[in-house]
Amino acid sequence: MDKASHLYALDRLRSYLPDRINRVVGRMASEEAAGLEELRINAGMPLMGVFSGFDRFIAEDGSLTGRSEKAFYVSREEVEELFYRLCEHSVYAYQDDIARGFLTLKGGYRAGICGKAIYQGQVLKGFKDISSVCIRIPRELKGCAEPIFPFVKAGRHDIYNTLILSPPRCGKTTLLRDLCRIISTGSERADFAGVRTVIVDERSEIAACYRGVPQNDCGPRTDVLDGCRKAEGIEMALRALSPAVIVVDELGTGQDAENIKMAWNAGVRIVATAHAYDIGDLKERLGFGILIGMGGFERYIVLGMRNGKRWIKVTDAYGNQLYTDQAAGLHDGVFRLHGHGAEIFREAESQAACAAEVQGHPSVPGE
């Protein structure tokens, strides 16, 4: 996403903000606003922006500061007003989303909600006394999967079962989304005809549907099961939607592994992601062994970061490296191929949390 698009996205977001907060955000310098990734709005606390790898308080004049006493303070009433605006003044229409702790807004924004939890029996029914809202500004990086797609493609109408692995916040979902877009749309460059694809979007992060309409481009042959659990979603897709490919995010349990097997038995390809530092890490998890090795995933895309520089590698099921982009690191790496220049530099830096998590792990392929 280039600077202009990001600023446009921020402008659209501002229409949701209560007047005072809207004015403060509007006063931010455009360079800083373009790097804004999250807006954290807490009742009685300073307004905070999360930028590329750091956070800062935002002062009343829109400047950034590390000192909370100079920051603009948000009132409880403003948080409440923001909440109602995010719900389009129709809490009942969003109550299922609220119970999941977030709202997906028009434009693909995602607003996390905190407050007092309300339980009905054992089931979390929703929240009241909303205390904070964290709005994440979406970044759709179209084209980021193009360099690796030839290694995922198995034929003009077929792909390999592919698993994307990385620690949190290294860009798994972004890559998955773009892979999905290419699989569904097709690619002349890679000589691939698009195929029917179903996204089981349990956390509404891949397609970011707003009232049934995907806010991210996931391709014209894509159906989205929004907010649907993986187990049910995969079964439903197999039964009713006749997909060639099912896309799921964040496999994590043994049950997920069973469902993936079920899809394979039905002849459907799977593209999925999982939190893991490498294949070995995933293999050790209970129930995941059946997905690895012979008869399991055929391609692995591993993402990581070392010294603030991203790397990516693609291997086959035998561990043979098919593609790597690590030596030149960030500027010259796979993210260069997004064609977003300095924007990508910021994007990668922004996920510095990832670097911390990678520390102590073999962060470079082959190490």
Binding site: H89, S90, V91, Y92, D96
Partner: protein, 127 residues
């Protein structure tokens, strides 16, 4: 089970444009468009639309007040609570409807008697 869960602005628009609104259609349309602009909450949008439409609606001040209060509770709670609010408001409206009918009957009788009296007076004057 499918839940449409339409936001109020959409629901109002549907009521206004879908032919379900009757004489209230302009009120729903206006409320929907005010809400859509996102500059005010449902209560405020409803209140403004109601004030604007009050001159053209066949309602007493008391009726207008009741409808205004109803707007205050719209959209601010979950489905169960909204249903409870709507049920309560429906109850209130039926009480008012009953009162209005009684009043209409009494007033109607009065007008009928008055009409007869005036008729008799006219006959006396003409004789």
């Amino acid at each position: 089970m499918c839940i449409m869960g339409k936001p109020l602005n959409k629901a109002f628009e549907n009521l206004g444009k879908g032919g379900y609104g009757g004489v209230w259609a302009p009120l729903f349309c206006r409320s929907g468009s005010l809400l859509h602009e996102q500059v005010m909450d449902a209560g405020e949008a409803w209140r403004i639309a109601l004030e604007e439409a009050s001159a053209t609606l066949p309602l007493a001040r008391e009726d207008i007040d009741l409808l205004r209060d109803f707007g205050e509770l719209l959209g601010k709670s979950d489905r169960d609570m909204q249903q409870a609010v709507l049920a309560m408001e429906k109850e209130k409206v039926s009480v008012m409807e009953r009162k209005a009918k009684e009043e209409a009957e009494t007033t109607g009788k009065l007008y009928r008697n008055l009409g007869a009296l005036l008729g008799a007076a006219a006959v006396i004057l003409l004789i």
